[in-house]
Subunit: 139 residues, 3 copies
């Protein structure tokens, strides 16, 4: 069994954003030389998400509006977590709705994806550098 | 390390439905001959979900009502994604709430499940053929 | 390839609670002797969740309030599932929002975590003994 590990560095200047990281994950897979296995991708942070969906700007706008409705940022004082001095409790909720991680099949040296599947980093508390972990195991 | 890959074909005539695919996944595991490992199951589409829960019709009715409340189909014009000519933005939301994929432990050649765990395909934009990927790695 | 399996027993006296199980998962990893691979952690039950987030009491309070708003326990008669004699339909919803399972990278014999990542068991229908499965594969 082979294993491969790499971190992708994210710098999102705004509070929230959705970035397609499929090219970086593909590059990791190529570097790994693994042909058959599983590829795990997750943020190493708890106010961000890695998810698979469509690379369509309108949809990302919709996600953002929808997540803000389900778990609004304001009022900041409405969350007990924010008494710690943070203002990001909503980001911890948004990340749970979108999920932490994805596990992708690796077949014939490629991400085994349907036509529209793309991997996104979802940032819900930006303005600082963050890391995304790519771990691939297989042969 | 062994690996196994197979697609399950889904044809859901209605917009939304919840189908127990545990028998098909069990059959994949039997075919694979893998005794210890991990089994990934995911739709190869972005408006569907694979999730694990209870095989109880009332619960599926409840999920459907609840998801429609959290991310309503109408008004179709309320989503920017639908300006692309689609009417399925809500399906992209519903899929995130239910999750994309499941990873199941394989032990002694069986899906390592508790009493009530069953694998479901959740369709949120049916009326076309779709594929579910089963990837198993192990020994 | 090596594989390791162990169950963690949970006894939550209240209906809902959030318990840090990172020490138990670390102990499993140590026992397994696996240095590079993937670690799956999931409840073997369908009204509980395993998720990764912050070990901060205020946040857990916020999660609980927020989940109760998204999928309220009352009125019990508002869910068709509860006609089976159960009163836990809301727990099946809450578990989907928080997710079933986590998959964690294993690197150099450790859980490959960012600073704040911790593994939690989320109970949404307590008062009975439950099991959490830890399955680790790798080398």
């Amino acid at each position: 069994m082979k294993s491969f590990r790499k971190e992708i560095i994210m710098n999102i200047p705004t509070r929230r954003d959705y970035v397609n990281i499929t090219p970086q994950v593909r590059e990791c897979l190529r570097e790994s030389g693994i042909r058959e296995g599983l590829c795990l991708v997750n943020p190493m942070h708890i106010t961000a998400s890695v998810f698979i969906n469509d690379d369509e700007d309108g949809l990302h706008f919709d996600y953002d509006q929808w997540l803000e409705k389900i778990a609004p940022h304001e009022p900041v004082s409405g969350y007990r977590h924010n008494r710690t001095g943070e203002d990001n409790a909503d980001a911890h909720m948004k990340r749970q709705v979108m999920g932490r991680e994805v596990v992708v099949a690796v077949t014939n040296g490629k991400l085994d994806f349907g036509t529209w599947e793309q991997i996104f980093y979802g940032e819900f508390d930006g303005g600082r550098q963050k890391r995304v972990l790519v771990k691939i195991i297989g042969e």
